[in-house]
Symmetry: D2
Amino acid sequence: MSSTIGNVLKLSIFGESHSPAIGCSLDGLPAGIPIDMDALQAFLERRAPGRSKTATERNEADKPEILSGIHEGVTDGAPFAAIIRNANARSKDYEGLRSVPRPGHADYPARIKFGNWHDVAGGGHFSGRLTAPLCIAGGIALQALASLGITVAAHIASLGPDGIADEGLDELALDESQLARLRVRAFPTISSDAEERMTQAILDARASKDSIGGIIECAAYGVPAGIGDPMFDGLENRIARLAFGIPAVKGVDFGAGFAAAYLKGSENNDPYRIIDGAISTESNNAGGILGGISTGMPLIWQMAVKPTPSIAAPQKSVDMDAMQVAELVVRGRHDPCIVPRAVPVAEAVCALALLDALLEDGRFPQPDPQVIADR
Amino acid sequence: MSSTIGNVLKLSIFGESHSPAIGCSLDGLPAGIPIDMDALQAFLERRAPGRSKTATERNEADKPEILSGIHEGVTDGAPFAAIIRNANARSKDYEGLRSVPRPGHADYPARIKFGNWHDVAGGGHFSGRLTAPLCIAGGIALQALASLGITVAAHIASLGPDGIADEGLDELALDESQLARLRVRAFPTISSDAEERMTQAILDARASKDSIGGIIECAAYGVPAGIGDPMFDGLENRIARLAFGIPAVKGVDFGAGFAAAYLKGSENNDPYRIIDGAISTESNNAGGILGGISTGMPLIWQMAVKPTPSIAAPQKSVDMDAMQVAELVVRGRHDPCIVPRAVPVAEAVCALALLDALLEDGRFPQPDPQVIADR
Amino acid sequence: MSSTIGNVLKLSIFGESHSPAIGCSLDGLPAGIPIDMDALQAFLERRAPGRSKTATERNEADKPEILSGIHEGVTDGAPFAAIIRNANARSKDYEGLRSVPRPGHADYPARIKFGNWHDVAGGGHFSGRLTAPLCIAGGIALQALASLGITVAAHIASLGPDGIADEGLDELALDESQLARLRVRAFPTISSDAEERMTQAILDARASKDSIGGIIECAAYGVPAGIGDPMFDGLENRIARLAFGIPAVKGVDFGAGFAAAYLKGSENNDPYRIIDGAISTESNNAGGILGGISTGMPLIWQMAVKPTPSIAAPQKSVDMDAMQVAELVVRGRHDPCIVPRAVPVAEAVCALALLDALLEDGRFPQPDPQVIADR
Amino acid sequence: MSSTIGNVLKLSIFGESHSPAIGCSLDGLPAGIPIDMDALQAFLERRAPGRSKTATERNEADKPEILSGIHEGVTDGAPFAAIIRNANARSKDYEGLRSVPRPGHADYPARIKFGNWHDVAGGGHFSGRLTAPLCIAGGIALQALASLGITVAAHIASLGPDGIADEGLDELALDESQLARLRVRAFPTISSDAEERMTQAILDARASKDSIGGIIECAAYGVPAGIGDPMFDGLENRIARLAFGIPAVKGVDFGAGFAAAYLKGSENNDPYRIIDGAISTESNNAGGILGGISTGMPLIWQMAVKPTPSIAAPQKSVDMDAMQVAELVVRGRHDPCIVPRAVPVAEAVCALALLDALLEDGRFPQPDPQVIADR
């Protein structure tokens, strides 16, 4: 089993939806990176429910407690660790689910794998709640990357059965005005028109006791060329391996991605050019990655998020103990769409993958002694 | 850098397009699995060029030499290793490429990463040729899985800009007649009509000095439920991590994949049912995986292959030493479409990922002593 | 950096001596193992200071808080995690040490590696205190092994410059009376005479403001033959890799160990014999391991613990900022001998290494469903 | 199973004593390191049998064939791979051993683990012959370290039951005259008197159909301070994990090692001093490592090599199939002492561990483009 990942930067996620706490450890952060705790908290807020009219009003206290790794506001070289308390330890409310698996959730295969001991409450270790510690670690990684001039940004590219589309992130260069528009709103789109239409689609889904999914696009600007390794530790492999750890993600692609399958070589290849004495490409169907290694162009990738499995409408299932059909009604309030909440998680995994690759490449610069002297 | 992957079953790939040999080592195979060398060779032939009218006629001698790990036709528990000689060590033919990177290839970022020492000939370690040792290891894994009743099969689901479609693999159960039709032809489609149309599209691309891509669908039948681990070592993570190591792959998805982003929860969830005293699902949008763990339904996934970067038409590039624009004409014969050759590679990575997960789960049965007694 | 280790059973340790908490996560524990929290606490008490007349009276509240992985007293398959609060966050007391490294401690190289950000207080992440979470994880592993009939026991084999010797653990078979004598006393020796003499030696060391070291012998009884892997994942490699993570350990050997270098082959080889229809050896110089793999004989190994670096007497050091010599007096109360406290840590690392190897070998039996039914 | 090791520099060893070939792959070598093939061959010769009057005269052709990773005499960034052909595929000569395990060898536990498929000939994958590819990889690593000014040297510190001692390596600084004396002779001692006495002891052992062991001391000079990581990836952990992969090694210690257990803190601590404006220590009982991290002082460690298990005298064993006692006479010529041959292997593992740690630390300098321009 592995909730542990990374070569030089090693992340471990632990916790279950209804255990006393969830958390993470992140081993391999260089010393000397200043960490802004308010910025970290703001990042976590982007993931938390209850902020907008589309989300579930379940109350989650998502304020992390840092256990180690940061001393006087700066990483100190020791492994970073943080936890978040689970306020609602209501394991017994889910007892009925022990024998009737929810379609689209991990209940059934988890019971096969772990037997009767699997803590089915809220999904146990499979719960979307585990993306919170992933975001703590990712938030730290984002700040580390920012100190190197690397910016990561994600948004909802497409939402729902109608494929409501947002304006796409600039694939050729960092567009500050785009990011400004993205950051000004609580709902993660660049265009306000897209926000309105997507929000309505989510409310409609809730009204019909159903759920919808979407596609998230994520970009990383300022990644130097030459990062990543051939074959199994390329940037695509590293990002995909993390991204598929996000519940509900069923697809990951890079640059033109699945669309490249419909292009001709003359259309898909990115010709090289020289601008201001630097080499770049005229297009970026490669998504900033060739042979697993960064080209210096913006890194662009997408992940497909399936519609939330927990829907209010009755569903067909089986009673595993009695071995007969059973109808299931999932209780409690559930998000009709988790895509907005998954947007910061996409940034988190992108940052963790990039930082590990940068550290392995040896290019993460040594901490500046002047920083500490000036504090 | 990592051309090494796996938890219990550890694969290492080595070699370059024009080095003396390419090869692999595979560490962790249980002892006692009979290996049919003729079947392995036949599997490698599916990948080799020059077999059909669409491929390049470059001559590649792809007969592997087994160096260790197999004794008297059975795996003996020691690490398996095999090499394939490179017949054409023509490094100098590529000298002109040293400073002018080919668009869509790894030349440019590889030079940034490895400096002038990168052996650019034929793509060096980034060459599609490295999928040959990947297929040797995958071929061994396929035979190991077959001994457990697990069948892996892939085909071209869609080809070219027009999206020429093949009949889809059965997502609910192993359909022997489908596999029979798939296996009877050299070109990897179930339908002969699809073969004709796709073959024509490839010839057209060659005639226009261009290239096309496609989407490969792969299924694994007979995978028991409960295999794989939550979070970062789920079956999706394992398969994706290997698949993105195949040159030209730019996207991977599972089950409904990116299409799930356009479904409603009521459509995407797979209701449970009981058939012949066993639990299964009525549909299989999950692609046989929930929470990273197999459900017992067929495992279904897809990979997007971009059009071959090497096209005969002139392309715009730059001379990195002179720092000025340059036109590039890629010499030599190149496949206008590598999708047919990538089909067995998809099966290979699927098999390697599954076998590692099975071994880690502890369910790979002990070798049957009667097998050796009867030999 | 790696405070993370293991193939199937993955351990991560985090925390620093004076950070808010220290802890561990342990990923890969099978579900269904009953955990006795009182027994775990008792195991941790064996490591804690202040219990005997030889130890430091610094007050450490070592009661772990379980954060996840155990549900209703049984492991549930999700990663296990636990923390221990650090009661004394007195970082500023160590400020003077920031520029004057303590001989024998990690201060100097840690400052070179981590710059000025290294939290030098109490040794930061290098502190012996980090063996507490290692013991939590090890305590869980010990209980898992016990459920398979595997017993791990360690004691002080030799203490101090005079090499005060305890009776040796039985190398041929589990001797219950020996273990009974070992367990009855707070001081970890089999012989009470050894306890008296060793205790006196420790008190003498304290009186002379000095410290002493010793050698710990550890045995594992009931390990089935065939566990462990050749070459780099043999049981010796696995145990040594963990054991050298214990502060102050400077040597590890197996069976006859360094003494084997002085034996002839005819003396060191262990002849095979058959007793009660089972194969065993007449002697056990191999320490239960050949070729990295267990033989079924008791696993016997030793670790050398250097004398505590923190001594009360003044020492020569340098001021790294002023670049001139400086005298150092280490303040606070420190153990003149940490060997007694390291004994349970030896058992912990032995258990973790063995459990990982057992899980990788696939021999850890499936949890017994009857256990949960009966609760 | 793992014959694969390393974080950034990944080594895989494959092959068996009587399989067609043995070899290694080494993934993660930076590009641009010039490799002197004659020096590599000379290094392998130090390990090979048949060179001196004490060794077995079995004929082994140990000339490696490089398969990839080196282009025009310089590492090119692609994984390095090399093989050595096994000239003598005489598996059938060992048939009698299939059921009667040799004491002190891996035969018995290997058969339990791998069943009847284990290729027992010559020890299969457990054979000392597998140290040849370990030395190829180590030889490459040694050259990489030399390019950074790091020198690794090992010798026989003590041999046989009488503990014949060589002069010790200088623990405080590189002593060129010592290394010159060590390198001038075929037998790995600094003192010629030690060579004579040790050689005689080996001949005596052969005459009495027995074998002897010894202790090897290894030093690394010029290692910068700050290399290695706390806890489980310290230099001790890295070296020990590799060293215990060498057949016949039963103990590893660092600096004063097991002897430190008999020292007082005031004796064992190494006081700091300043010499020529640089910080060093007055003694080096730490062996150049504190808290797992290098101090800048010479890295000193030792490994204990047990006497060769294969002795000519008859031994007691059992017939595993008939389950009754059996006498065993090991046929063929075997070294009465493998210690001299293990000396270069100690250097190899030290170099591989150090290079991995250096690469992970990010301090391995970028290749010098001028080197290639001048060639």
